[in-house]
């Protein structure tokens, strides 16, 4: 079995699977259950100042379901912990004492005044927790009070608060970022400038999961009205992966440790985040859907995959996909693929045909010699992957690279050389050869 142990900015854990700051980490009872189940660490649900906040007494969660009620997307309007600060601190201290090998990070959110941060940092240090995470991401409720994403949306505030924390505590500082911005690199750069040891992302996305068409109000509906909530779960993973990659490959933040968050449900999701540079991953929705036991599959799956690939430690693959994330203009325009339908696997549903015919390039037949038959017309196929995406049979349609001959669509010979948009003749801003 591969070694899954993790050392993330000095915080050690037996595996990279942490529970994110959220309801599953709100109290000792849950966290102990999580550790018993095998989780490598937790980020304790965000602490604030007393008096403790209050939550709504109506529904806090909304969901997007698949047809068989599989949970695809999830949102919430819950606030930070609604338990007294002292109770949380006492429990954190006890759990850390009882579970010394697990990562114990404490999420914090107090008003943007230096003294407020100094006060809470001292109290958290007393718990012997391994580190803190600054909650600059919560998009509802707390943001209306000038905290959470209200801070995360202003890079100057991020830098300022991060600097205070680095100045006033010995604990490592992780800055949790909100995705509700236009360019994730800016808040990450600000965190780094403030001295952050790491960033974690993404927090939840502003969302209305659905509208109750009888009540004419957003779900979840509380006495006839609803507010936007934070969206998470499998549906947000692609957004999170991109933001993680943007930070990992930005020259200004390259190498800044990242804890990846956003729809992590399986070992494979975790491996993908880690390939894009995440040193650990944080999980919430999957645990809230299935319970803590899912970590067993994550541990086994990641370990089996590492064994299969010959990785003996997670360092060997963390960030390995980052160099291959590039800008569109760097993509090889001489790379030509054509879709190919495996006629033995084809079940003749015709979805590839109608998708291509109605919405794309008219490159798939519906009929051949009077028979229902779906075949790619190479002279029309641009290799777009739409047919592959809509085909219900896995691996029935594949994209095959043309390595020689003439592309029947363009009539141009296949060029084995790499060439991108920056030098393309149609690009008015192309890089000219000196001779031109």
């Amino acid at each position: 079995m591969a070694n899954l142990s993790s050392n993330f900015i000095g915080i050690k854990s037996p595996n990279p699977f942490w529970l994110a700051s959220a309801p599953p980490t709100d109290k000792e009872y849950n966290v102990v259950r999580a550790f018993k189940a095998g989780w490598g660490g937790v980020v304790w649900k965000t602490l604030g100042e007393d008096p403790e906040v209050v939550n709504v007494n109506g529904p806090r969660y909304g969901a997007i379901h698949g047809r068989d009620r599989n949970l695809i997307g999830f949102n919430n309007i819950e606030l930070i912990t609604d338990r007294p600060l002292e109770v949380n601190l006492r429990e954190i201290k006890r759990v850390k004492r009882d579970w010394p090998d697990r990562a114990m990070v404490v999420s914090l959110m107090v008003p943007c005044e230096e003294q407020n941060w100094i006060d809470i940092l001292k109290r958290v240090e007393d718990t012997e927790a391994d580190g803190i995470e600054l909650n600059f991401g919560c998009p509802h409720g707390m943001s209306e009070r000038g905290m959470g994403s209200a801070v995360g949306q202003v890079p100057e505030y991020i830098e300022m608060v991060t600097r205070w924390c680095k100045q006033h505590t010995r604990m490592p500082v992780i800055v949790k970022l909100t995705p509700n911005i236009t360019d994730i690199r800016k808040p990450a750069q600000a965190a780094k400038a403030g001295g952050a040891d790491a960033v974690s992302l993404i927090n939840t996305i502003n969302s209305i999961v659905s509208v109750d068409l009888d009540a004419m109000a957003p779900n979840p509906t509380i006495d006839g009205r609803g507010a936007h909530g934070g969206y998470c779960g499998p549906a947000v993973k692609p957004i999170a992966l991109n933001m993680v990659a943007e930070i990992a490959r930005d020259a200004a933040t390259h190498g800044l440790p990242i804890s990846g968050i956003g729809g992590v449900t399986t070992w494979r999701d975790a491996a993908e985040f880690m390939a894009l540079g995440a040193g650990t991953v944080q999980v919430c929705t999957a645990a809230m859907t299935y319970g803590f036991k899912i970590v067993e599959e994550m541990i086994d799956g990641l370990s089996d995959w590492m064994d299969e690939k010959g990785y003996t430690s997670t360092d060997q693959f963390i960030g390995r996909a980052v160099p291959n994330v590039t800008d569109w203009q760097q993509l090889n325009l001489n790379y030509v693929v054509k879709a190919k339908i495996d006629q033995d696997a084809c079940i003749k549903c015709g979805r590839c045909h109608i998708a291509c015919e109605d919405t794309s390039h008219q490159a798939i037949t519906a009929m051949k010699d009077g028979e229902r038959h779906f075949e790619v017309i190479d002279a029309e196929c641009v290799g777009c992957n739409l047919c592959v995406s809509v085909c219900p049979v896995e691996d029935c349609i594949t994209l095959e690279q043309m390595t020689e001959g003439v592309d029947p669509r363009t009539g141009k010979p296949i060029n084995p050389a790499y060439a991108n948009w920056t030098t393309h003749p149609n690009n008015p801003n192309r890089v000219m050869d000196a001779a031109e």
Binding site: R67, D68, R69, I347, C349, R351, H353, I354, A366
Partner: protein, 451 residues
């Protein structure tokens, strides 16, 4: 062997009241809302969907399934009724395993088609139980009149489509209520809760249709009179004749026409009142053979054997129907043809069967080897035939292979007479095919009356 035969054991009330309820309950319990939602999600929404092509009435199956999937079962039912006003019954009785579900592309992927029949039933059940309103509006009266002979699936579909277009329709039916085989022929466990009559009332609720029961063609009404009094005539009278075994002993008591027995069963107030033999032999290989075998078994017969002259592959009853019978404990014996019915004191006691064989050309012949099965009842289910006499003499529709000849529009050799359902040549003897006949004929009649 003959002395081994015992006196006939025929009794009613072989079972407890609970048994009857259970045995004649819905063959396929309807899908719950969640089941339907999950099943609907399995539909790939195929291009030029093979299921729709396979449906004799061309129901837009991907569309109606998608409407279930999006929480619009009432709209889904409207999609179904637009092509097949008897979509509720067809959802129950269609041999979907040889029609839409056989064509489902999921068979290629996993041998498990989308359960189209059950989804169709889900949508139509919701419509019929929750909506008072008829799904379609009748066009303004045209003043034209059409006579429909026979209130079975073909006649009902034709009448509905004509009434919808504003024509005045009169349905004549020989029996005391309309519905045809839906009412008198379908196996009881496929049409529970008097669904046939319920659906008939739904069809008639379009308006503009008058029903005259107890009016048999050739007895109470004449084709010539109908042609004189109406602008067009549609014949959908089904098959009145039953094929005979043509063996000795066919007139013995206990030798029963399966079609008549099923009609009696369908109309029975109390199933426990029906006479049921302890040992039963069914002769035939079609749907009627399966239907009588399964139902008589479910009425309490101990041993039920279907004897068929060829092998199971050649049976007209689908593999699915055969499985149903086998599951119920019916024995299917192949390569046997009736030779002689045995009896004592005027009552059948058994049947002598001859083993058959097929030559290279596929011709069947007896081998001379015989065997005897004891039987308290022998059911004849070897097919029905069209009885042409009621059409009258003189100017009557031409026949083909013993049934009425029609063209693609279901028009007979007479310009003002159309026909459909089991009484026409080349038919498939299916409810859904009869509905399509009625629908096509109605369109042609409308075109002719509008010309």
């Amino acid at each position: 062997m003959a002395d081994a035969l015992s006196a006939p054991d025929i009794r009613s009330g072989r079972l407890t009241p609970e048994d009857y309820l259970e045995n004649f309950d819905d063959l396929h319990p309807p899908l719950g809302a969640h089941e339907a939602s999950v099943e609907a999600d399995r539909c790939y929404f195929c291009y030029d969907a093979p299921c729709t092509i396979a449906c004799p009435t061309s129901i837009d199956i991907p569309k109606f399934i998608r409407q279930i999937s999006t929480g619009n079962p009432v709209g889904s039912a409207r999609t179904i009724f637009a092509e097949n006003i008897l979509g509720g019954m067809c959802a129950r009785v269609c041999p979907t395993e040889t029609l839409c579900e056989e064509a489902c592309v999921r068979n290629l992927a996993e041998d498990k088609p989308v359960q189209i029949g059950l989804l169709q039933r889900h949508a139509t059940d919701i419509y019929l139980s929750q909506t008072e309103r008829h799904p379609f509006e009748r066009a303004p009266e045209t003043g034209r009149k059409v006579a429909v002979v026979g209130g079975g699936p073909a006649g009902l579909a034709c009448a509905h489509a004509l009434a919808r277009r504003g024509h005045a329709v009169t349905i004549f039916d020989a029996r005391d209520k309309i519905g045809g085989l839906n009412e008198f022929g379908i196996a009881a466990y496929k049409s529970t809760d008097d669904f046939a009559q319920f659906e008939t009332e739904f069809v008639l609720s379009i308006g503009g249709i008058v029903v005259e029961c107890g009016k048999a063609l050739g007895r109470d009404i004449a084709l010539a009179d109908l042609r004189r009094d109406f602008d067009a005539v549609f014949l959908g009278m089904g098959l009145a004749g039953v094929n005979a075994l043509r063996t000795d002993g066919e007139d013995l008591a206990g030798v029963i026409d399966a079609v008549a027995y099923i009609a009696e069963l369908r109309q029975a107030e109390e199933l426990s009142a029906l006479p049921v033999g302890r040992k039963v032999v069914v002769i035939g290989g079609g749907m009627t053979a399966i239907d009588i075998a399964v139902q008589i078994k479910r009425l309490g017969a101990e041993e039920v054997t279907i004897a068929y002259r060829r092998d199971r592959e050649a049976m007209k009853a689908s593999a699915y129907e055969q499985e149903l019978a086998l599951t119920d404990g019916v024995v299917i014996r192949e390569w046997l043809q009736p030779k002689r019915l045995l009896g004592e004191a005027g009552h059948v006691t058994g049947i002598e069967l001859e083993r058959t064989a097929e030559d290279d050309a596929g011709r069947l012949s007896g081998t001379g080897e015989t065997m005897t099965l004891q039987a308290d009842q022998v059911f004849k289910a070897i097919g029905q035939s069209f009885v042409a006499d009621p059409l009258g003499a003189g100017d009557v529709p031409a026949l083909e292979g013993g049934r009425i000849r029609v063209d693609g529009d279901r028009r007979t050799s007479l310009a003002d007479v159309w026909a459909g359902g089991d009484c026409v040549a080349g038919g498939e003897d299916l409810t859904v095919a009869a509905v399509e006949d009625g629908k096509v004929a109605a369109a042609a009649i409308h075109a002719a009356l509008s010309a």
